[in-house]
């Protein structure tokens, strides 16, 4: 395995091949906000909150650090002006799907928003349907990859995409498991289960 040298926020980092920028940054204690990332699961890149700026020569690009592999001689900025601007926009879009999140403590999504100075009034300018699901896919991927039950999945495409429990499997498997409940960044998941309970 070849060692790769890169620079994150001005700090020289030695990483291994097949590591992502996010993992390399975590190794030296740089905190990049993430919502859809989980150690047990394959990187997914859905929330785009982990966006960082990479600089190669004169050019710079915005990439999702949780899926971007490290490269030799890469210069990474995790909190540059451009990154913060786009992260704010992303957080506003996410907040628009979860109205009233400001009142609730202990939610990562809320804490990130407050960290970057988002207010609910700002988020209201986006007319997104408040579904309380940000489609991070944590529950779906956890069920498929860790538990291998496929009791929960996505349905629909594009703006109609949503998370559903498949009653035939979920009624059997979910009552004894419920491991995906604490993963949900908005806490709506337990209610979905109640919806499919047999009459």
């Amino acid at each position: 395995m070849k060692a790769i040298n890169l620079v994150i926020n001005g700090i020289k980092v030695t990483a291994e091949t097949e590591m992502t920028i996010l993992q390399a940054a975590k190794g030296i204690g740089i905190d990049i906000p993430t919502l859809c990332y989980h150690e047990k699961l394959a990187p997914y890149g859905a929330c785009r909150l982990c966006t960082v700026e990479i600089i190669r020569g004169k050019h710079s690009r915005l990439v999702a650090s949780c899926v971007y592999p490290v490269e030799d001689g890469l210069i990474v900025e995790t909190e540059s002006e451009r990154v913060v601007k786009i992260r704010k926009l992303l957080l506003e879009l996410l907040w628009a799907r979860v109205p009233g999140i400001q009142a609730l403590r202990n939610y990562e999504l809320r804490n990130y928003g407050l960290k970057y100075g988002i207010t609910e009034a700002q988020a209201k300018r986006f007319e997104t349907e408040p579904t309380f699901c940000i489609l991070c896919g944590l529950c779906v991927r956890y069920c498929a990859e860790v538990k291998k039950k496929h009791a929960i999945g996505f349905i629909g495409r594009g703006t109609q995409k949503e998370v559903v429990l498949f009653p035939a499997i979920a009624r059997k498997e979910c009552p004894g498991c419920q491991e995906c409940y604490p993963l949900c960044p908005t806490g709506i998941l337990p209610s979905y289960f109640t919806l499919i309970m047999p009459h």
Partner: protein, 187 residues
């Protein structure tokens, strides 16, 4: 300690379904533990987070909320979805102060399900008996427990507008989901 301990349960029953179900259980003479004290509400959506925490403050070991089945609320506002979201929120708050969230329970009982009501009450009472008295079984100091409960009660009372707005929005989202085309197809 566990021997001879009778848990106190406060029940909020919806006038149209759960209360009628409890009534039917009584009329049909089904046996179930007498630990529940019932408060009748017109709809389970009437139950406020403040009620729940005040019940725990006044010495209830468990709180039970009974409503109509989802999609069968007798009001167009679909109050039982609201009760469901309220319960989830309260469970979260309960576990934050170190209490077992199982002490709060929501169940759907229709007016014809007297047996089901009796079964649920038996199970819930049994579960609370296993858990033991409020606070002691969770290893909490009673003075501290009181303080924490008062703090949470104050929090939900002072942020009433925010919380009710939040619950209503979630209820709308859930109602929409519960009424989408594929949902009825699967059910």
């Amino acid at each position: 300690m566990k021997y001879g301990y009778e848990p106190k349960i406060l029940g909020f029953l919806c006038n149209w379904c759960a209360y009628a179900g409890a009534d039917l259980a009584g009329v049909s003479r089904y046996q179930y533990p007498p630990n529940i004290r019932v408060i009748r509400v017109m709809c389970s959506g009437r139950v406020d987070p403040v009620f729940v925490f005040r019940a725990f403050l006044k010495g209830a070991d468990g709180v039970f909320i009974g409503g109509c089945w989802l999609g069968e609320c007798h009001y167009v506002t679909e109050g039982n979805y609201k009760a469901l979201e309220m319960t989830n929120l309260c469970k979260k708050l309960l576990s934050q102060i170190g209490l077992n969230p199982e002490r709060l329970r929501i169940e759907w009982v229709s007016a014809s399900e007297g047996i089901r009501f009796a079964e649920i009450m038996t199970k819930f009472t049994h579960q609370l008996k296993e858990l033991g008295p409020l606070g002691i079984s969770e290893g909490k100091d009673l003075g501290r427990l009181r303080q924490d409960l008062e703090a949470v009660e104050r929090y939900v009372r002072e942020n009433k507008d925010l919380i009710s707005d939040y619950i209503t929005k979630r209820q709308e989202a859930l109602t929409k989901k519960g009424q989408s085309w594929w949902w009825s197809y699967w059910k």
